[in-house]
């Protein structure tokens, strides 16, 4: 469980996060939605300690990040998996080496055990014909899968994904979403996903946090998001005609 209390993050004059508080439970897929530029990435990076918040606290199952020593922070980070918006794969390594990297660095597994584990997660993310290729030689969708595989290879307790399915076709996007949800439930991971994909919201939004202008505007589940009359949310989520109709049908069904 991750608990966020009142975090504020400024870049120079610009205050990107103006005091956000929320909780992310384990075993649940927590989604953060909001317009491009609303601060989703900054929020996620503040949780991870890549950005240092100007104030506020973040606690990982009771461990308050800002109060940990450098060594304790590194220790905590070995329990974290992160999928970056741009994948952030290591160019100098093959797909296999990328995925095996956290194990090589932090486990006492033998090369053979590492290989087995890597093959297992490669299968898990449905990646084919890529073992020996370099990141520059595979497609964007495959890069995302490699990034997810790398994030989960070391059985993280906390998984962060920054737009894991942007730039993917709808079918692959759903496969990736379901994959993340399955893994989250299977290993009881605390998962936080940034997205602006409304399909993901409907599919896997067990908890949704809506950021607007640096503030938490609304939070709830994907069931609740149909019913809410918060205008900012309905405006954002049901901006397309299709979703407007879906919502209407859903609300009528519900009666």
């Amino acid at each position: 469980m991750i608990e966020v209390k009142n975090i504020i993050k400024k870049f120079g004059e610009q205050t990107v996060l103006k005091g956000v508080s929320t909780r992310f439970e384990a075993g649940m897929t927590n989604l953060i939605i909001g317009q491009s530029g609303s601060g989703k990435t900054v929020f996620l990076k503040s949780l991870l300690g890549i950005h240092t918040p100007d104030s506020g606290t973040i606690s990982f199952d009771g461990r308050i990040y800002s109060e940990l020593s450098n060594d304790e922070r590194r220790e905590l980070r070995t329990e974290i998996g992160m999928v970056f918006q741009g994948s952030a794969l290591f160019d100098s390594m093959t797909v296999e080496e990328n995925i095996g990297f956290p194990l090589k660095m932090f486990s006492n597994k033998s090369p053979k055990e590492i290989k087995e584990r890597v093959d297992f997660v490669i299968d898990r993310v449905h990646l084919v014909n890529a073992h020996q290729k370099r990141p520059s030689e595979i497609s964007g969708g495959m890069q995302k899968r490699v990034a997810i595989a790398r994030a989960i290879v070391n059985n993280p307790k906390y998984l962060f994904c920054d737009e894991p399915n942007s730039g993917l076709d709808p079918k692959t996007a759903i496969v990736i979403d379901n994959l993340i949800q399955e893994i989250t439930q299977e290993y009881n991971i605390t998962t936080v996903i940034n997205t602006h994909d409304m399909n993901s919201v409907m599919e896997i939004g067990e908890k949704i946090v809506f950021l607007k202008n640096g503030l938490l505007e609304w939070e709830g589940s994907n069931k609740e998001i149909f019913k809410t009359d918060n205008e900012a949310v309905t405006d954002f989520v049901y901006s397309s005609e299709l979703f407007k109709r879906v919502r209407k049908m859903y609300l009528e069904d519900d009666k």
Binding site: K45, L48, I50, N70, D71, R73, R74, E75, L76, R77, T78, I80, M82, F84, Q85, G86, A88, L89, F90, D91, F101, P102, K104, M105, F106
Partner: protein, 247 residues
């Protein structure tokens, strides 16, 4: 302005300290070191050999051509070649060239990792990215004195060949010149400089790559800025060390 430079220098020293914190597993580090030796040291031998040999030749020809006074012995050619190659050309000027070659390679490779968030990815996993990226470069550059030793040898060889085969002097005369007033401390001095330059060559470009901000365009700019600063600091340190050690 001054404050900005001072804070950069402070940041540089903090970086140096951080490089030695929380070392990476030795089995991983070993491979990284081999890779850096290959990229930085082995990869530079060709260009260093080429430049040293021909510049050595030119130094010796220039000295010969300027020796118009018959009273000055021909041994001076060997002597002058030795002094200029060993004292300045090999340690200092090869290092400036390396600031361009190794330095821009280091800055752009680390800078690219920064802008594509690979460094963040390392940090998020709990890796000390400075140790992971910079430490192996420093260790690889412990071999840098061998590069400079090679440069000295080939520079003098080039000088000898140009002088003898160009018909400016005889081989025994040149060799006598090489041995004239040989001061062993000059070699020590040259290698002390080399060791200091090696540290600068590994760390200043790393600093510029590691702390850069922006995108691909800025990676290019960072490489240029890094080359300028590495050469400026090398030249300044050269001046200071020469003052301290020789005068």
């Amino acid at each position: 302005m001054l404050i900005r430079y001072l804070s950069q220098i402070g940041k540089y020293f903090i970086m140096l300290k951080e490089i030695f914190n929380k070392p990476t597993k030795w089995s991983v580090m070993k491979q990284l070191i081999f890779k850096e030796v290959d990229d930085l040291i082995i990869g530079s031998l060709g260009i260093v050999a080429f430049i040293s040999f021909f510049v050595g030749g030119v130094v010796s020809i220039q000295t010969a051509l300027n020796l118009t006074n018959p009273l000055i012995p021909k041994e001076l050619i060997g002597f002058a070649t030795r002094q200029s190659i060993v004292l300045e050309f090999a340690p200092t000027f090869i290092s400036i060239i390396m600031a361009g070659k190794m330095g821009s390679f280091i800055t752009s490779s680390i800078g690219t990792m920064r802008v594509t968030e690979q460094i963040d990815a390392l940090e998020v996993m709990g890796v000390n990215s400075l140790n992971y990226l910079v430490f192996p470069k420093i260790i690889a550059l412990l071999l840098y004195p061998f590069v400079i030793g090679l440069s000295m040898f080939l520079g003098v060889l080039g000088g000898w060949m140009a002088a003898v085969y160009g018909g400016f002097t005889s081989s025994p005369e040149f060799i006598t010149g090489l041995q004239t007033e040989f001061i062993p401390f000059h070699i020590t001095y040259a290698f002390i400089k080399t060791a200091v330059f090696a540290i600068l060559l590994a760390t200043i470009p790393s600093f510029h790559g590691y702390y850069m901000k922006g995108g691909a365009l800025e990676v290019g700019q960072a490489s240029t800025v890094s080359f300028v600063w590495t050469s400026v600091v090398i030249i300044l340190m050269n001046f200071i060390l020469t003052q301290l050690l020789l005068s």
